[in-house]
Amino acid sequence: MVANKRGESVFQFFMGAFFLSVCALCLAPAVHLLAVSLSGKNAVLSGRIGFIPVGFTLDAYRRALADGGFIYSFGYSLALTSGYTLLALILTSLCAYPLAQRDLPGARIVKALVVFTIYFTPGIIPSYLNARNLGLLDSVWALALPGALSAYNAVILINFFRSVDPALFEAARIDGAGEYLTLAAVAVPLAAPALATIALFYAVSRWNGVSDVLFYVTNPRLYTVQLKLKQMTDMVVISQQEGSGAGNDLAADNIKAAAVLFSMLPIAILYPFIQRRFTRGILLGAVKG
């Protein structure tokens, strides 16, 4: 048994080393990015930066943020994400609360029609033509409306409302509250944890979404931070990519790195919170609809 125990601790040592390396490997690109963003332009062009900045300077951040459009798109994206999330939460609650009532006639059929939209999604072109027919193109509504009700999130919320004791809703109704008041004053506070999870699902998808911005919007004032970042980091300098290292400074790599890192900030700051909520949310969603 003693040999066995020693074998186990050797095994655990290697396991620890293995997972530490996996974590290091996962974080290495971000550390490199940080080093590049804090390095001088010439050091970056020489292509010898690993994990430590060479010729430390904050110049890249200054130049990235000097692009007025970048900060603007940041604020605009925050506003868009907040508005979209609020709208989505209202719609999802309005959808989930009635469908969670067991005595609502036709609820099963309506729920099936909702779940149907998880599996059958319109393609890129039909969605685009639809947005165009509705006159949404080149307006902020093209980015806020089409995705404002996710059936997947609605199913999560339906399941949550079903787990609540119906007597709580019943009591509110007996006290004379209408359905809207019951939803707002009883159901929503009860569902706060589920709603927080869903809000994060919506917010992260809107914040990170890029293809609809690309498809539906041509006015640069409506570009989200992701599209703005794409413009700033676009791989235009092929010569650099190909290793000659002699690109012009149209978009020097340190400025690109600074812009990418800056865009990571909101997610990075909220990550501990997001991580916990998402982990729980994934488990909620794992229940078959």
Binding site: G16, C23, V110, L129, Y180, Q241
Partner: protein
């Protein structure tokens, strides 16, 4: 109360779903979708004759096959291995760190990929330090595909791990201890206890993956790709974008998109049926 959400789903899901009939029409912007003349299956026939579409089809299959080969098993292997790790702090830290890339947008991932793999990037800096000539990862089609797969593993492994680890929390630790006392080695415990527990999860995700072998997201190939590798980075979704939105051939592009979704649905159904034949649970 159901009226606003129902109207929403009709307006933004059901009507555009019906809009797929553009695939069978000669879409005329001025007449509108419904008044446009029927085209039968002409657009589909044209798609299959087009070399570009066949390339996009091949690239989609190739890139997805690589994902299936690398991104699919990675979280399984890591989750199973992580279960054998004793220290709960490192266990938590690993989950915490590996999950992070899931939340970065594809634009950010593309920016990071560029910084790591470009001619002046991290890997080439390391190669240069070792005296090895620099490699054009992003401009060489075969190497670009590897970069594409690596980015998928980096972004997706943490998410997959959470799903498998959740299934594994259902295992009573006493089961493993009892097996150990009965003389079962580590390998036996993994193959007899851990793997059977996550098997339904593996099968479910495998079915969805096989079903999605023809569907490919737009963001990853579009944002990671560049002109030097367009021979392998042009996939169905980016082809639909180029043909439909950039060239304005809405009917033809809709046909390609519809073909992709239809095959996807058939594939999921077949994979599901196959799994059931093998005695697995399936997804529906």
């Amino acid at each position: 109360m159901l009226l606003p959400p129902a109207a929403f789903l009709v307006l933004f899901c059901y009507i555009p779903l019906a809009g797929n009939i553009a695939a069978f029409k000669d879409y005329n912007i001025f007449e509108g979708l419904w008044a446009s003349r029927w085209a039968g299956s002409r657009h589909f026939a044209e798609a299959f004759r087009s070399v570009e579409f066949r390339y996009a089809l091949r690239n989609t299959l190739l890139l997805n096959a690589g994902d299936l080969l690398f991104s699919f098993p990675a979280p399984i292997l890591l989750a199973v291995t992580l279960m054998e790790l004793r220290g709960s702090k490192l266990r938590k830290a690993t989950q915490f760190i590996l999950f992070l890339p899931h939340f970065f947008s594809m634009v950010i991932v593309a920016g990071i990929v560029y910084q790591v793999f470009s001619g002046t990037g991290l890997i080439n800096a390391a190669l240069a330090a070792l005296g090895i000539p620099r490699v054009g990862f992003l401009g060489t089609p075969a190497l670009w595909m590897v970069v594409y797969w690596v980015s998928g593993v980096w972004k997706g492994t943490g998410y997959g791990m959470i799903i498998y680890l959740a299934a594994l929390t259902a295992v009573d630790p006493a089961l493993g201890e009892a097996a150990a006392i009965d003389g079962a080695g580590r390998w036996k415990r993994v193959t007899r206890i851990t793997l059977p527990v996550i098997r339904p999860t593996i099968v479910t995700l495998l079915i969805l993956n096989l079903g999605g072998v023809l569907s490919i997201g737009f963001d990853r190939p579009y944002l990671l790709g560049n002109v030097l590798v367009s021979d392998v980075s042009n996939v169905i979704s980016t082809h639909v974008y180029a043909v439909g939105m950039q060239a304005g051939r809405f009917d033809f592009a809709t046909a390609i998109g519809l073909f992709q979704s239809a095959v996807g649905i058939v594939m999921v159904a077949c994979a599901n049926l196959f799994a059931r034949r093998l005695g697995e649970e399936g997804i529906v």
